[in-house]
Symmetry: C2
Subunit: 492 residues, 2 copies
């Protein structure tokens, strides 16, 4: 079976056996079944446990996979490590093609773990009889629909961590050597950012067999995926990794973001006890990352935030900035100064307005406070002038956006906006979001104000693929990675 076919089987099995299924809700084997049932998995589910009788969510327990009459595509293991070789053998007898092993206790625990590994290699005849994901992983997540939709099948959640109940399908795929990214953190991020559209999340663990390579290869060809977020503690095959990543140069709708754990000796010491990854030379790691031309994130927060930003930009077919020529609309001079400093540190620049646009700006600003020649707009003086002339200041705001969208010197617009229920009648953000969606430039927001109002506006913007950020620096950094991606794609 080709690698792409085997990944397809892991992501879209028609039938799964949950080995270690349990009636006890505190056990991971229970949660895997609960996840599948409550999220309306359409394939067949077989709970397997030699010590259990009766039913689980209306599904009859079997003692062994050998007791199942129907065909089984995938086995999900939630049993202690020592029991795995024997059950794997049964899976092979049954003709099961893939196994997800969530248990830990292999390479990362030293000698005993290595012995177990050798047994598995022998039983599977070097993974020719059955392909394995893990061990020491948190399974797979595939999302088909939104949690609040009435669709038939919403997804396949092959994770033992917990039961997922808030999620949205989208164009992001995650490949991770940290189970947390397919467990607690994913759950948290999908609830916190309800706009975060996740298509797949794959926890590859110690990657005894399947690794980042096979999943990357698959996602690069999968038309539902635009953004691939990767966390690795080691490279399974650096040359192949670079080769695959470089494929994105030719694809305008794919971006890979990587967090590499174990960049420092202290981090490498930690990876050894986590996934058993051996220390890699720091210079070598940096060379691999550089050659691969991926976006590097420093931590999980950045990984998800960057993924979300790219996801929204791809959803709206935005033209990615190439030179880093940004503009800012703000009501605060202090915020303007800090943005000017931070953008400069990131190598971004406020270009001068084109002649035409500058002269149109001058007209709406008062004489005592003309606009800047460069693309930093403090809109208050223009608002005040409008009010003094009994014009609607909201029209001014829309006009300013129109100018910045039109000016060819400007590749994107950053904004600071104050949100207040009291001032709602003074805000036309819905109108502005409409202009933004009609424009090809990325437009980002930093929102402050009354907490509930910030949440309301932020949610509305996110639903329209306009990202907002918790800090000025996050906003700027997320614009900068768009420029980075364009540059990476342009380098031979």
């Amino acid at each position: 079976m080709s690698n792409n076919k085997i990944i397809d089987l892991f992501l879209n099995p028609k039938s799964v056996a949950v080995i270690g299924a349990s009636k006890n809700p505190m056990k991971g084997g229970h949660r895997i079944v609960e996840n599948l049932v409550t999220n309306n998995f359409k394939g067949k589910i077989f709970p397997i446990n030699p010590n259990s009788e009766g039913n689980l969510f209306g599904l009859e327990f079997k003692k062994s996979v050998l007791d199942i009459e129907e065909e089984v595509d995938l086995a999900i293991f939630y049993v202690p490590n020592r029991k795995i070789p024997h059950i794997l053998d049964e899976c092979i007898q049954k003709g099961i093609k893939g196994a997800i092993i969530e248990a830990s206790g292999f390479e990362e625990v030293g000698e005993n773990g290595l012995e177990l590994r050798d047994q598995i290699l022998k039983i599977t005849e070097n993974f020719s009889k059955i392909r394995i994901m893990g061990p020491n992983c948190m399974g797979l997540t595939r999302i088909n629909g939104d949690s609040n939709s009435e669709d038939n099948e919403r997804g396949g959640f092959f994770t033992s961590f917990g039961v997922f109940y808030k999620y949205k399908t989208g164009n992001i795929a995650i490949i991770s050597q940290s189970g947390m990214l397919n467990g607690g953190y994913l759950m948290y991020m999908m609830e916190k950012y309800q706009d975060l559209g996740i298509r797949y999340s794959c926890s590859i663990g110690n990657k005894m067999d399947l690794s980042e390579i096979e999943f990357l290869d698959y996602f690069l060809e999968d038309p539902t995926v635009n953004v691939i977020a990767v966390y690795l503690e080691s490279f399974k095959d650096p040359r192949k990794f670079i080769e695959l990543c470089r494929k994105t140069k030719a694809k305008i709708n794919k971006t890979i973001i990587l967090v590499k754990g174990g960049l420092t000796p202290q981090g490498q010491r930690a990876t050894l006890s986590h996934t058993g990854a051996l220390a890699e030379n720091s210079q070598l790691i940096n060379a691999i990352i550089k050659q691969s031309g991926v976006i590097q994130a420093k931590n999980f927060h950045e990984l998800f935030q960057f993924a979300r930003t790219f996801s929204m930009m791809y959803n709206e077919n935005k033209v990615m900035p190439k030179k880093g020529y940004i503009s800012l609309i703000t009501g605060s001079g202090g915020a303007g100064t800090i943005v000017a400093d931070i953008t400069a540190e990131y190598g971004l620049k406020f270009p001068d307005f084109s002649e035409k646009i500058y002269h149109r700006l001058v007209e709406i600003f008062p004489e005592w406070m003309p606009p800047n020649r460069f693309a930093l707009v403090d809109f208050w003086p223009a608002m005040e002038k409008a009010m003094m002339n009994n014009n609607n200041p909201l029209d001014i705001m829309k006009t300013v956006y129109g100018f910045l969208i039109e000016d060819e010197n400007i590749e994107g617009i950053l904004n600071m906006m104050f949100c207040s229920k009291r001032w709602r009648s003074f805000s036309n953000y819905k109108q502005i979001v409409e202009s933004i969606n009609n424009a090809s430039k990325p437009v980002f927001y930093w929102l402050i104000g009354e907490v509930k109002e910030v949440q309301r506006v932020s949610r509305y913007m996110a639903d329209h693929n306009v990202p907002s950020f918790p800090s000025l620096e996050d906003m700027i950094k997320n614009f900068w990675i768009l420029v980075q991606d364009s540059m990476n794609k342009n380098i031979g």
Copy 2:
């Protein structure tokens, strides 16, 4: 009048005249009065407006300060810049000692503004007749009590930005050249972080007369203030600034945090149009910051987050870390790796456990997965062992905290914690917070999980001065600044 006496008069006036008070709630002059009245300001309030009749919040309008019979300590101006010289003259005649000028249109607008400035210098006889805060500022905020308390006076809010309704008094003082920090951002932060204890917030604007110098001097002596958060676009008197900042070396309960705007040429271009600050040499700026020995923050987000962290540490009399020897308690190996990498980049180190503590840890871990020799604890194996032996895993958690608190090699504890309503019975965070409060080491959290549960736990921790952070990197950076502060205080 000494500088400290004049600052005292600005912060604690017994009577204020609000010049430009208005019945129109869309005007800043209205909001200044509303702020004072609704927040129960105990001094006398005189609304002044030659064009208004009748009352505002039950207070009678006067045409001019000269119509007031009682003594007036402070005048707050919310009128267009051109009207200021004439009214200032009246204030001097009335014997008013201080004026807050919120209008803009001075140095930052060029020639006309400079002319106005010269008029003011002449009228005030170089500020010998009356002291001035601003112009181009957002006034002062002094908080006496919490917004939900029934206390008599809760504060003095001399800001035109908006009406404050959520706040808590505390040990943080803000000095800022951005009005936003005493306006929208302060309002947002105090609602978002209801534990954020603010004592004063002073928007100094263009600092035509009073500047960071007089306020710093005052706060260094004020026993209610531990943390001074400063945003500057220029240094009024670099030598004096350094001298004052260095005073904190001798004070174990004072820390100054600075954001300097205009560090880059692009930022300096922005400051010129904001507060009229002239470009300063970047090398000179960096030398001033280094010599002053303050904690430097890069942006407003860091400024407030650092201030909050120090505030909590001072509230609990924590012993600040000196060497950067940290530990981590986590259930995620991936988080452990990333923390190990990021801490290494910040120069922090996981020390080895002391012999005694290590041997006690070994006892609670299973043989197949012994603890690390260095202070990174992945607690899952210990929990699993406890459960297999029918012991309460929560006791294990408490024991681990006890070990790390006891071990003398460790200066502080970082944590990753998953919060879930479903798992509440598996969490003894209240018990652990009690241990933390009894210990002298700083203990920080990164919380993930169900959003509401994260908020609940985070709020509880914050109420007990245990800070939690939105990302691993924020958590680590905030520990690092504690080490920085110790180092700054130790350098000659």
